[in-house]
Amino acid sequence: MIHQVDESLKEDKEAIMGFIQNNKNDVSELYKKISCSYYLKETVGEAQIKEKFSFVFGLDSLDGDYERFRELRTLVEIQNKNYELVLQESFVQNDSMILSISIYSIFLFGLITLGISFVNLNISKRLWLPFYAILKRIESYQPGKNKDLKFKGGTIDEFKILSTTLNEMSSRIDKSFANQKKFIDNISHELQTPLMIAKSNLELLFQQKKIDVKTAELYSRLDANLGTMKQLNNSLLLLSRIENEQFSDSEKIEISGIITDYLNQYNEQIDAKKIQVETTFNNEIQISMNPVLAEILIGNLIRNSIVHNDKSGDLLINISGNIMEISNTGPHVDIDPEMLFGKYVQFGKSENSTGIGLSIVKEICNYYCFTINYKIIGKAHVINIQFDTSESL
């Protein structure tokens, strides 16, 4: 900055010197060339002043303020007399110029930045469009479902590669999912015959004339376990039939009717455990679903709430809006609500329970897009189902 002003002063000095040496009289010519103010002073005696830069304060002729000036003093010889040439240039003027230049630069820079980012944003928005489409598709991806829906990468190579990879991956997942379904289906199907033969063999053994006490106990345990195996196998078959969507036909179902039927049907158990049943139907839930699945859904929930109830416990069933809530008292269990509906999770310890009933409930809810929730309120275990009454399947 100082350097710049000094340079300009030096240039002005050269111009004045040139003017003096050429001895021209036209001063206007000179004023065009120089930007600073100057004056000449006669020096007395031997002046030893060499070129010297310094800061001085002086009155600015333009606005009448005291301002900082840069001053150059030098010696010139005119007609054998020594004169001191003093050149002054306002430093502040330069300062404000720099400030305004800076402001303009910043403004310009900002404008450019804004422009670039606007263009960038627009381009990237269009650029990432296929990416967001892929993301959305991943979010909605469910193994074994919407197999015809493929990932699409648009025109961008990288996304094309990503889509191809995802397509391959999802088809691998679908395949292994289908295999797993088929495996369960096959296993439970194939198990029926050996189970049948084992059971019938045992039944023949029961007919033997003399069975001693120990053998009888062994037979009986064998019988009970074969019974459990049969039940498990039936449940697995049912699960795989639901997963394979073999219950597609539907009709209008009234939920409260099924609840009442099951409560009547399970009267014996309710009496045996002295369970207090209370039903509150604020309205009727009418829904279009498969009648068999509707019965399995309600039946399993009511069975579950009886089996895991306390002696002389409570069983409350409440319908309001499109929500059915079944709440029963029961021993406290440390179980993650998310885990409750998993396959083979034992809800408490009940001797005759295979623990698969609730996972069937969950599977039916998934199939019809019902929301199912489990929570513990005080001593009560509460399961509520929000039916999707809007959709007619």
Partner: protein, 222 residues
């Protein structure tokens, strides 16, 4: 009374024949379609027990053949649990009843006898055992001509015991008969209660105790 059993699983077929051997009807058996067809053309049967999974849907074809021959013998379908569509087809073809594997042999025996009874008695239908008489149409039980009131489950249990008289019925088989597909829900306690009631009501009506307990296994009507 003649019953034809068609089942391709040889081990099971043998067990069925052994179990039903002491009954008051004659069983014939075969494990393939061709032999079964031959038997249908030569003999007259009162009841057919047919495994519907007899390879390439030939079980259904067999039912068709039976019905086409104007044979009025009853048909019981044996099927796998996951082939209910085939069962429906079979019932539409004129089959009377069905059982899904795995079933109890005592259950099969009860179903066969129900069909044979319907065929013989046509209309008036009574089972008699000494001083007990069960009227099937009205579901009434008479002891020495006096009516004894039973609940539905008690009636079903008594009928099941009498139908399988002389055979040991396991508690498991009774649970499956009274509450099909509810195995994990009904403990044996419910059988004890029902049986205690049956015994009490029968003895109050002056009936001897024919229901014997077989230790740890189950019960036998004798």
């Amino acid at each position: 009374m003649k019953v034809l059993i068609v089942e391709d699983e040889k081990g099971l077929l043998k067990n069925i024949l052994t179990y039903l051997s002491g009954e008051n009807y004659v069983c014939e058996a075969t494990d393939n379609y061709a032999a079964a067809l031959e038997k249908i053309y030569i003999n007259e049967y009162d009841c057919f027990v047919i495994d519907i999974m007899l390879g390439a849907n030939s079980g259904l074809k067999l039912i068709e053949e039976i019905k086409q021959r104007d044979n009025d013998g009853g048909v019981i379908i044996i099927s796998a649990k996951n082939s209910l569509e085939d069962v429906l087809k079979g019932l539409n073809l004129g089959a009377d009843d069905y059982l899904t594997k795995p079933f109890h042999l005592s259950e099969l025996n009860a179903r066969i006898k129900a069909i044979l009874r319907r065929r013989v008695n046509k209309g008036y239908n009574t089972i008699k055992f000494k001083e007990i008489a069960i009227e099937l149409n009205t579901e009434q039980v008479l002891v020495n001509q006096t009516r004894v009131d039973f609940t539905t489950k008690e009636y079903q249990l008594l009928l099941y015991l009498i139908t399988n008289k002389g055979k040991v019925l396991s508690k498991q088989s009774i649970v499956d008969h009274l509450w099909p597909d509810e195995h994990d829900f009904y403990s044996y306690d419910f059988i004890y209660t029902h049986l205690a009631n049956i015994r009490k009501k029968l003895s109050e009506a002056g009936c001897k105790n024919y229901v014997k307990t077989v230790y740890s296994i189950g019960y036998k009507f004798n």
